[in-house]
């Protein structure tokens, strides 16, 4: 395994009961690489990235994250999650905590960082996502796009090497989508390893190093964005692209 590999899927299979969700997944993600995962709904793309921080368990094959092979032991899972941050479709901010408190909770109680230091660091990240003026607001007082940006800052406060995004803009209005995508572009420019499930093809073109197209639990095509959009190699990807462009 290469030293600069961040995530490595090796013949990975996952089942939900008898349903075969992920079929023989093989994929290497290099450090600093930006991967966009797309595909029709139900194709397993969310499940794929949820395996990376062990929100889902896989049944056969191997998955290495930052050189650690993921198994089902709590110790390993904890170690891997220390390297991986995640943003969810519905932001999942804690409703009873302010933006700042959302960002400092895990640093203070998981990493045992002194409160003052955690707050200073959280303010830096909130500034990075342009939310420093809203540090003391509760999630219910923020718009969707603002909540998602706080959620990104919250993940960054854990100093991850890898960031996972599970349809981060699907629940947002067009205006909020661009403010969240701008933050994600900044993050990509900063060299973060990213795996992003998204239907934002403009974003994929702009920042992705590679696009992974999935259908029915399989990786159908891995291609660079220009090649993928201009000249898809597989019939299924071509069909998918036609559908999202024509709507």
């Amino acid at each position: 395994m290469l030293a600069d590999t961040a995530i490595k899927f090796e013949n990975m299979n996952k089942y939900f009961g008898t349903f075969h969700v992920l079929k023989d997944i093989n994929l290497d993600v290099a450090k600093g690489e930006r991967i966009v995962v797309c595909g029709p709904s139900g194709s397993g793309k969310s499940t794929l990235i949820r395996c990376v921080n062990a929100l889902e368990q896989y049944q056969s094959g191997h998955l290495y994250v930052d050189g650690i092979e993921l198994d089902e032991t709590p110790g390993t899972i904890r170690k891997v999650r220390n390297h991986v941050g995640m943003c969810f479709q519905h932001f999942n901010l804690f409703p009873h905590l302010t933006a700042l408190e959302n960002c400092t909770l895990s640093p203070i109680f998981t990493h045992k960082i002194p409160k003052a230091e955690a707050e200073k660091q959280a303010m830096d990240y909130l500034a990075k996502v342009r939310m420093e003026g809203f540090a003391h607001k509760y999630p219910s007082q923020l718009s969707g796009g603002q909540q998602q940006r706080v959620a990104i800052a919250r993940s960054l406060c854990m100093k991850p090497d890898i960031m996972l995004f599970d349809e981060p803009t699907s629940a947002l209005d067009p205006e909020s989508i661009s403010e969240v995508l701008d933050v994600m572009v900044d993050l990509a420019d900063g060299g973060m390893t990213m795996m992003c499930v998204t239907h934002e093809m403009g974003f994929a073109r702009k920042v992705a190093d590679r696009v992974v197209f999935m259908d029915a639990g399989e990786i159908v095509e891995v291609n660079d964005p220009e090649g993928f959009f201009a000249n898809p190699q597989e019939e299924r990807s071509a069909k998918f692209l036609k559908q999202i462009i024509n709507h």
Partner: protein, 224 residues
């Protein structure tokens, strides 16, 4: 009516304070007893879960008055054993026995209230806690419990109000709460209007609690 109140004001005040103290103490202590029971009911499928269910079934199933009789009068049967283990000072006192019965009873109801709201917390919250690598304790103490408490606040307030009125049973085991004072004054005056005054006290106390609860609920602005 006025002379029944103003003439006996010291006793009414004593009764009112005792009723407020006993109901508040039992609800607060009961809350902390209820927490582990609720957690076991909600999260444990093994023996703790069964024990918690057993507790809830027993103490919701036994009438509070019967429980008070069993603890206060029943413990007298074991006075020698209780003396030998140094607990007699507790069980010979009607106030402690009454409080214990109230706590055991309300803890069963509160455990079910809290379990209910713990169970309504979405799995997405649990996933977020996992993704942020929160420890189990931090996840419970800092995330699940505050959210569950906020959701449970209206039914917990309801339970508080029920407990205020349930304390009137204490009078039967010789405690001088509001009802105890009312019975005492009645036995001296044989004037049934005494009980109107007692009723008015309860009503005022309950309205006061309702007002406080409304303000607390309004303060939890993040619920919106």
């Amino acid at each position: 009516m006025f002379e029944l109140y103003f003439g006996e004001m010291a006793r009414w005040n004593d009764g009112l304070i005792l009723t407020a103290v006993m109901s508040t103490l039992s609800v607060v202590i009961g809350f902390f007893v209820a927490l582990p029971i609720a957690l076991a009911r909600s999260k444990s499928k093994g023996i703790p879960g069964w024990l918690a269910l057993g507790y809830v079934n027993v103490f919701r199933g036994v009438p509070l008055l019967v429980l008070m009789f069993l603890i206060y009068y029943g413990s007298g049967q074991f006075s020698r054993e209780l003396r030998s283990i140094g607990l007699w000072w507790f069980f010979r006192d009607a106030y402690y026995c009454g409080l214990l019965a109230l706590v055991l009873n309300t803890a069963a109801y509160q455990a079910e209230i809290i379990r209910g709201s713990l169970d309504t917390i979405a799995t997405s919250v649990l996933e977020t806690n996992a993704a942020l690598n929160l420890t189990r304790w931090t996840s419970f103490r800092r995330v699940l419990l505050p959210i569950a408490f906020a959701k449970a606040l209206p039914p917990l307030g309801n339970e508080y109000i029920l407990m205020v009125k349930a304390t009137s049973l204490l009078a039967i085991i010789t405690v001088f709460d509001l009802m105890g004072q009312a019975r005492m004054i009645f036995s001296e005056t044989f004037d049934l209007r005494v009980y109107y005054i007692a009723a008015a006290h309860y009503l005022v106390l309950v309205l006061l609690i309702e007002w406080v609860l409304r303000r607390v609920e309004a303060r939890i602005k993040w619920m919106a």
